[in-house]
Symmetry: C2
Subunit: 421 residues, 2 copies
C-alpha cells in the first residue's frame, strides 16, 4: 500500500506555479494547466471570448498547424482537452507517464505560442456558437445559466458559453488582443500527478515555461450577489426545472470542513436527507441534489430538482424544509456516516492521477496552496459532533434565490427569506 | 510498476460466476454484479419492469428496511448504485478494499432477499416514471430512444426506461412475479477488482452466493434489425438531432480488433476523421462521434451529431462520406496513432478498480470469458496495416438507419443504402 503522498511546489522565474504529487505506483500521469481567463473577465459586450479563445488556442502552435498538432498528441496517446469556465480556463492531459514531458511540450507551445490561424477562426467560433445553441434544447442546463445570472449581480453570473450577440461580435483581432491582455505566466498554475519524479516534472516545466515572458493580467471584480428573488421562466416543456442558490462558507474559512460535513449529510449519498425525503419517500423526482460551487473567496450552494408540474410545489417545499432543518444540527450516526463517506471518496480520488492533478491546480487557485489528501483527511476526522452542530446552529436561515423553468409558475408563497418554523 | 494482472474465475455451486482481478497497489476495490434482466425481456405490455425492479430491489432486504439498508452502506463509505439496461441490470459498489466483503454482504441480501416493501413500491415506480418523463425535455436522449426503436425489429429496440403505459400497468405483484421468473444465480456474474486477495473474494462470494437457490430464466430473443430507413420526427426545438445506426462486427468475431482500430481512426480522438472533418474544419457541430454498442452476439455502431437546422444536411453528408471512406482503408500513421491511443486507454482503465470490475463482468456476459488487459494489448499490437485494411476493404457499403429530430426534415436524398462514389 502506498503511503500518503506529499506534494512539491515551485514558482518558476517566469512566475508560473508548478505543483506535483508523486503517485509512484501508476504508469500514467496527468497535468492540468490553469489560466485565470474566464467569462467573469470577458470584455464588456464580448461574452464568450474566453470560450472562443480556449477553442482557438487548441488549434495549432506557431510551428505546427492544427492537424499536425492534434496528430502529434494522438501519436503520444495523450487524452487532452481544454475549456473555459467562469473564473478560469484549464487545459488537461492524461497519458503514459513516460510521454508526459513530450505531451507537455506540445501543450506549452499551444499556450505560449498559439498559431492563431485565421483560417481556423471561423471554425473555432462556430463550434462555440453551436454549443451555446444546444443549450436551448437542454432545460436543465439553461436553468443553471438562469440561476447564475439571477443569483449574481457581478459578472460572475455570466454564462461561460457567452451570449449570442457577444459571440457574433468576436473577430480574430479581438481574441488575439484579449489573449495578450489576459494571459500571463504570473497567474498560471500547472498541477501534475502520477508515476514520474519531481526531477522529471520540474525539468519539463522549466524548459517549457521557465523563460515564458508575458505580461497580461485580468483582475476579476469582487463577487456580488443580487437581492434574493424568485424568478420563473414560462416555457412549454414537460418538467418543471427547479434551481436554488445561496451563499455559504468560503473555501478558505476555518469552517470549510464543518460545511463539507453538513452538505454530505444533506446530499452526499443515497442515504442523505434530500435523497431520502424527496426521492425515496415521496418519489417526487428522479434526481435531486445540492452541491457547493467554489469561486475565489466565495462559495455558494446550488440545489436542483426536476419534476412534473403537479409535484413541483411540494418538491420545492420539501427541499427548503430540509435546508432549514440543517440548522437544528445532525446526529452522531449522521456525522460518522458523513465522515466515512468523505474519507472513502478521498481514497478513491487519491488513486486517479487526473483527479489529483485537477485538485492540486484548483486548490492552488482557490486557496493559494494545495492540500494533501492526508491534510484533508485529518481536518475531517478531527471534527466533533459538537463543533459541527455549533456551526450549523449558527447558520442564518437559508434565503435562497429560486429559479424555475417550465409550464407552470409555482403557486403560493415562495419563501426566499424565512426563518425556522 | 505493477505487472499485468491475471484474473481468476470460478463458478460457484449455485451457478453464479465470480471473476476477480487483483490490483494489489490499490486501497480500494469495486464489484459489479450482473443479472440478465433488461428491457429486452420485460413482459409484453409491461415495458419498464426491469427499471422498476432494479429501483425496488435497492430499497431494503428482508432483515433491513430501506432506510437501514442505505444507512448501512453509507456507514461503510460505499458508493453504490444499480440500473437496468437493454439486456441486463447491474449493481455496482466501490469502497475501501477492507470493507468490500461487508458491502457485498449487504448487496447480496438485497439481490437474493429483497424486502419488496409494499410501502416502497409507489416511490420506486414514481421515480422511474419521473426519469421517463424527463426524457421529453432531452432531445438528444430521445433521439437515441427513437433510433433504437427504429433500428431494431426485435425487443432490443425497447427503451430501458419503459413506456408510460407499461410503467402505469405495473403492480407489486407483477414485479415480484417477474423477479422470480427472471432472476437466477445461474446467469448472474460477479466481477471484482481491487486491492484484496482471491482468497478473500472467493470466501465472500461463497458465503453470500454459494447456496443461492433460485430458478428463474429469461431467454432473450434473437436480435433482428428492421429494414433500413430514414425517419424524421417533427419537433419545435432549436437544433436538429441526427442519429444513425448500422450493424458491425460482433464482439466474439476474430475481426473485433480490426473493427476497434477502424472506429478509433474514425472517431476515437480529437485528431480522428469525424472530429476533424465535421467539427474542426467546418465547425458544423459542438460534438460529433460514433461508438460501438455491444449486445450478446451482435454489435452496432451509433453515430450522433446535433446542429443548427441550416447545417444539418451538410453535417449528415459529411458523416456519411467519412463512413464510406473507411472502406478505402487507413494509412500507416493513422494505424500507429490509433494503436497508441487504444493502448494508452487500456493502461488508464487498468488503474481504476471500477473500470476493471465493470469490464470483467461485461466481458463474461458478452464473450463468455473475461479478457485481461494484456490479452487486449497483444491483440491490438499484433495487427498489421494490411490486415486492418483487408478488413476495411471488405466491409459492405454502410447502409445506416437514420433518425432526425427537430424543426426541419432533411432535404434531398437521405442515402441509407449507397455504394462508394
Amino acid at each position: 500500500m502506498p503511503e500518503p503522498s506529499v506534494s512539491q511546489r515551485k514558482e518558476l522565474d517566469s512566475g508560473l506555479t508548478v505543483i506535483f504529487e508523486p503517485m509512484p505506483w501508476l504508469k500514467t500521469a496527468s497535468a492540468s494547466l490553469l489560466l485565470p481567463v474566464g467569462s467573469v473577465t470577458d470584455p464588456e459586450g464580448l461574452d464568450g471570448s474566453s470560450a472562443v479563445l480556449a477553442e482557438w488556442m487548441q488549434r495549432g502552435t506557431r510551428k505546427m498547424n492544427s492537424r499536425a498538432f492534434s496528430d502529434s498528441l494522438d501519436a503520444l496517446g495523450a487524452r487532452h482537452g481544454g475549456s473555459a469556465g467562469r473564473e478560469y480556463t484549464t487545459f488537461g492531459i492524461s497519458c503514459l507517464a513516460s510521454v508526459l514531458p513530450e505531451a507537455l511540450k506540445l501543450i506549452a507551445e499551444s499556450i505560449r505560442d498559439p498559431r492563431f490561424d485565421q483560417g481556423e477562426f471561423p471554425g473555432a467560433q462556430a463550434v462555440v456558437v453551436q454549443e451555446r445553441a444546444s443549450l436551448a434544447d437542454h432545460p436543465d442546463q439553461r436553468l443553471f445559466e438562469k440561476l447564475g445570472t439571477t443569483f449574481f449581480s457581478s459578472s460572475h453570473g455570466r454564462s461561460p458559453y457567452g451570449t449570442e450577440e457577444g459571440l457574433k461580435a468576436l473577430t480574430p483581432t479581438i481574441i488575439k488582443n484579449d489573449y495578450w491582455r489576459r494571459v500571463s505566466p504570473k497567474w498560471a498554475i500547472l498541477g501534475i500527478a502520477g508515476g514520474l519524479s519531481w526531477e522529471t516534472v520540474i525539468k519539463a516545466a522549466e524548459s517549457n515555461f521557465g523563460n515564458w515572458k508575458q505580461k497580461g493580467s485580468a483582475n476579476p471584480p469582487s463577487v456580488s450577489v443580487a437581492p434574493r428573488t424568485y424568478v420563473h421562466s414560462q416555457e412549454d416543456i414537460n418538467q418543471v426545472q427547479i434551481g436554488l442558490a445561496f451563499e455559504t462558507t468560503a473555501p478558505n474559512s476555518p469552517f470549510w470542513y464543518h460545511h463539507v460535513i453538513g452538505l454530505q449529510v444533506l446530499s452526499g449519498s443515497t442515504g442523505s436527507r434530500l435523497h431520502t425525503e424527496v426521492r425515496e419517500k415521496r418519489g417526487l423526482v428522479y434526481s435531486v441534489g445540492a452541491s457547493t460551487r467554489a469561486l475565489k473567496d466565495f462559495s455558494y450552494v446550488v440545489g436542483y430538482a426536476g419534476t412534473k408540474p403537479d409535484r413541483a410545489s411540494e418538491t420545492l417545499r420539501v427541499v427548503q424544509d430540509e435546508l432549514s432543518k440543517m440548522r437544528k444540527g445532525i446526529n452522531k450516526e449522521e456525522l460518522e456516516r458523513a465522515k466515512t463517506g468523505l474519507l472513502s471518496s478521498l481514497v478513491l480520488q487519491g488513486e486517479s492521477s487526473g483527479a489529483r492533478a485537477t485538485a492540486l491546480t484548483q486548490d492552488a487557485y482557490l486557496r493559494g496552496r494545495s492540500r494533501s489528501l492526508d491534510e484533508i483527511h485529518k481536518k475531517i476526522t478531527v471534527l466533533s459532533l459538537d463543533e459541527v452542530n455549533q456551526y450549523l446552529f449558527a447558520l442564518p436561515a437559508p434565503s435562497p434565490t429560486v429559479v424555475t423553468l417550465g409550464p407552470v409558475r409555482l403557486q403560493g408563497k415562495i419563501e426566499t427569506d424565512r426563518t425556522l418554523p
